[in-house]
Amino acid sequence: MAEDPKKWLERAITGKGWHERPRSGDGGGAQPPRPVKLDFSLRSVGLVLGGLLAILAAFSSFYTVQPEERAVIKRLGRVIGIADPGLHFKVPFGIDQVQFVATERVLKQEFGFRTGQDADDEGRTRYVEEDFSIESLMLTGDLNIIVAEWVVQYRIADPIKFLYAMREPTGTLRDIAESVMRRVVGNRIGSEVLTTGRVEISNTARDEIQAAMDRYDNGIQVITVELQDVVPPPRVQPAFNEVNEARQQRERMINEANKQANQSIPKTEGEANRLVSEAEGYATERVNRALGETARFNAVLTEYRLAPEVTRSRLYLEALREALPRAGSVVVVQDGQASPLPLLNLRDAQPPRRRNQDREGGE
């Protein structure tokens, strides 16, 4: 710095020599009582200040709107328009103000749980381990307690309305979503909420939240309401599981009984059929035997009638001849004698083995 800053300040306060700056600027080097050094310095300060101001103005007079955004431009507090993505100019020094609103992005609000902003190393979403049960606990129409977690996806359809219809549009969305979800769930009985009602609940909730947003005219467009976990309260859950298990158990018992029935009935049917077939076999055999025997009898009878006496004796003797060798012992009984008279008892005298061999050899 050419001049002592102290002196410069003093002059600036007293005004001494201060007014001469323009003149020295005009006249150039015509009047030399003041040192050229000071003259140059003052001008340079002015230049620097002016330049700084100009740069500041230049920098604050354009702005970039990102592809997913729209910018709302206010001039002296009044909204004058919306800017599309791209580079835009505005009046600097706070006369034009720009507010960016992410209109193209799908935003979401979570109820009953929070997804962490960052995923972990493996790319899985992290869930914040905190208790949001105050949001998720609700009553069903049959006055039971249920825990429902859900997500509302929405988009800012109208940035001006979003900014200027309500002060807390997002907070309002949350309030209304909770209110509506409780109304919809409260309008059904618990078992329906847990099972078949999910899709209908989501759709009804979506429509009602959208209707509320339309009534507030706050530029929010609800895209979907998605029910996540809908479960009984934690303490009751084991009992619900028990019911499911019991249901499985019932099915299993019925299946086992059916299995047993399916196993044994065909088997027994088979057995019964076998019995019938065997009986049929017996019948055939019996009839055939009867036919055979009678045929034999008839044949013998025919011959017998031709010579009854002879045939009779022959038959008798033949039969005895066949039977006697087989019989273990033969006893002859005579009238008037006390004890039976053994006729032959050769076999008892022989050892049993030999006797068998004899018999085999003899035949």
Binding site: N144, T196, R250, I254, S264
Partner: protein, 317 residues
Amino acid sequence: MSKLMLWVASALVAFLVLANSLYVIDQAEQGIVVQFGEPIGEVVDSPGLHWKLPFIQEVRRYDRRMLAWDGDVSQIPTLGREFVVVDTTARYRIADPLQFLRSVRDEAGARTRLDDIIDSVARDIVSGTNLEEIVRSADWQVNLAEVAEVAEQAGVAVEQLDLEKPKKGRGKLEQEMLAAASRLMPGLGIELIDVRIKRINYIDSVRTQVESRMIAERQSIAERFRSEGQGRSQEILGDMERELRRIRSEGERKAKEIQGRADAEATRIYGQAYGKDPEFYKFFKTLESFDAIGENSTLMLDADSDYFRYLDSSRRR
């Protein structure tokens, strides 16, 4: 030199005056010009640049957008004496900033007044209503099949489930709250847009009871399933046993019938054949039965029998 100073000073003053008499009303705001605490003129509700008298007038700004009010959570007994926790929420707008300024001054003041008013209205309405009236809505329409299933599971008649349509329902009650609270709003310069029940839950002790009830209910359903399984299983096994016996006995009957018919047939055949000469048949059959004589049988023969006749003497008798 002093002329220049004067110029600078007057420029400075002019700037200050200008800065103090020009003001900007934002799109989100409405303003009231106040002079020594007294509101002057109309509400300024068009956004943009406006004039006022410098220094002696100041601008009070109020939000012109819709504002949210979230009440405290309060414990209220219902008509049925269950204690519930009710959380209400409401939306309002500063409709008359002049009145608003006079009665509550600012939003903090408004909020405390709204707390008092809406809380007491909610208290009145909830304590005069049964819980199911608050939980269910006017379009309550239970799925009959579903109800029947629930009743069947719980083992009670459908009528006992107490699932009737509410007389008023949640929506109507919210409207009543809005109407009751709105009556007091003109004095505050506030327009109440809606009042809603955000949350309604049992207090903790009641909640524990309800959960215990739910557990007991579930367990009895589980028990039913189990005994149903046993019952069905026994039924099936019984059916099976009956079927088995039927099949078996039918088979046996058929077999016996067949055997009987065959026996009858054989008897007829034998009868026919042997009837021709019963005496010879007896003789023939007796001889045949000699075939049955085994190794260990003892044959007893009369000494007078034909067999020995010729052993005794070959004389012709």
